[in-house]
């Protein structure tokens, strides 16, 4: 990711920028317009050193509407969601929420995402949870299961099909 786009002849992608802003505003957060590039977010970013995530650049590109490059970049998916950027922004902006919104827009526009994320979605649509109860191994290599430990059964949604339908509707109709 670079800020080269800012000096090129690229045109802002206004439609996608609007979509990002709708999602950010739904969280009662301000859109990136007020970012003055102080870099405080990046200085505390937990994903900066290892993964080169620079939230202030994400803010700059989002603010100007040059987000196509971001949507295609893997860097959005390196955010560890520690929320330090949101906590520390002197303008009360929320880079982490902008990054989440960009990911949502990337998914909605059909960009390929890591199968781990789509698997979690499938699991929730199928069972209500991101995974089924597992057999685990303790430090003496003894195995244990939920039942075996005498824990009560996992609560289940009453009507999985209804939950599925409601989720599908919620996904497309909640934020308009």
């Amino acid at each position: 990711m670079t800020i080269v786009d800012l000096t090129s002849m690229a045109k802002p992608e206004e439609k996608q920028q609007d979509r990002v802003n709708v999602i950010v505003k739904a969280l009662n957060e301000d859109v990136p317009g007020d970012c003055y590039q102080c870099g405080k977010c990046t200085s505390g970013c937990e994903a900066f050193i290892l993964l080169e995530l620079e939230p202030h650049k994400v803010m700059a590109l989002s603010k100007s509407g040059f987000i196509d490059e971001l949507l295609n970049s893997k860097v959005l998916w390196t955010c560890v969601t520690c929320m330090k950027c949101k906590e520390r922004c002197p303008q009360n902006l929320a880079p982490v929420d902008v990054i989440f919104a960009l990911k949502n827009v990337a998914v909605a526009s059909g960009k390929q995402i890591h199968t781990g994320y789509s698997n979690m979605l499938q699991a929730v649509l199928g069972t209500g949870y991101i995974q089924k109860p597992k057999e685990v191994v303790g430090r003496e290599n003894d195995t244990a299961t939920r039942d075996g430990l005498g824990l009560p059964p996992l609560p289940q949604p009453k009507d999985m099909q209804k939950l599925q339908q409601a989720l599908m509707k919620a996904a497309t109709e909640t934020l308009r």
Binding site: L27, L50, M83, E87, Y129, L154, A166, T174
Partner: protein
């Protein structure tokens, strides 16, 4: 007995069994009757990467189920707790959004009212149970132990939606550790992230973060690391060996849920606290510690 609804989310009831066992074992001693609420599902936080509306729907749905039964919620997972806090923050301040979410909830016969009170273990123990009652119950001295605190990012940030402790200088966990006779020194890496969030797609970087924090805890000479988050616990405890390989060092840090340590201090049978399920060398925290 105070009735409180237990909302475990996904990770605790599908693999972090020790956390659940210790909660169910310890809290009744403080007059809490834990109620399992029927029909709940994922809190939606893991789906926030894909679509924020899914997160809000699932959290609003769980909240509605608790409100229907007129129960307060204990959400011992910071990730779930934050999803509930944020959903409440958003829906209570945005009538239009609330209307939209309720329109979908209606298909499942549910309504979000916004009356729920919810807690994490941190504020439940510190603010509701209270340090004095914890001191009273702690019979076995943990003197000589110096335990590092790991809060979990989602438990303390962001501060603009109410969180159970301060975002930059949380202290409740240290207070709770001191209440059971342990020491808990400050260390510079206290607020560092465990890396769990990117384990799916950037596993090496995730494990590097885990390893670096554990190396710091080890270097400072702590006796162990206490957690209150199933995601962080999974990284520091279950994945400690992989983290050691990733950072190329040897790691040997006992990692224990705070509630397990509280149970030990209360003289509970380690098996009832799921102590055999911790992968890290927690025996050191349990063995008689005379002369330490």
């Amino acid at each position: 007995m105070t009735r409180i609804g237990l909302y475990l989310g996904c990770l605790i009831p599908t693999e972090q069994y020790a956390y659940e066992m210790a909660i169910r074992e310890v809290l009744p001693d403080f007059g809490m009757e834990l109620v399992d609420v029927e029909g709940v599902a994922c809190c939606g936080a893991p789906l926030r990467h894909i679509n924020l509306s899914l997160t809000m729907y699932l959290s609003a749905r769980n909240i509605a189920l608790f409100e229907k039964d007129d129960l307060d919620m204990l959400a011992p997972c910071p990730y779930c707790h934050q999803a509930v806090s944020e959903t409440k923050h958003v829906l209570d301040g945005n009538p239009e959004l609330r209307k939209n979410v309720n329109a979908h909830l209606k298909e499942e016969g549910l309504t979000y009212r916004g009356t729920l009170r919810h807690y994490h273990l941190l504020d439940l123990l510190h603010d509701i149970v209270g340090v004095d009652r914890i001191k009273e119950k702690a019979k076995v001295s943990l003197e000589g132990l110096n335990i590092a605190a790991h809060y979990g990012c989602h438990l303390i940030r962001p501060n603009d939606i109410p969180r159970p402790d301060d975002s930059e200088n949380p202290q409740k966990m240290e207070t709770l550790l001191e209440a059971i006779g342990a020491k808990s020194d400050y260390y510079n890496e206290k607020l560092d992230c465990c890396g769990a969030h990117i384990l799916l797609n950037e596993s090496e970087s995730a494990l590097t973060k885990t390893g670096q924090k554990l190396q710091a805890v080890q270097k400072h000479g702590f006796s162990g690391l206490a957690t209150m988050c199933p995601w962080g616990h999974r990284m520091f405890d279950s994945k400690q060996d992989s983290a050691a390989q990733t950072v190329g060092g040897s790691l040997d840090v006992p990692v224990i849920y705070y509630i397990q340590l509280l149970g030990l201090a209360m003289g509970k049978d380690p098996a009832s606290l799921g102590m055999n399920l911790n992968r890290s060398p927690v025996d050191r925290l349990m063995a008689p510690r005379e002369g330490v």
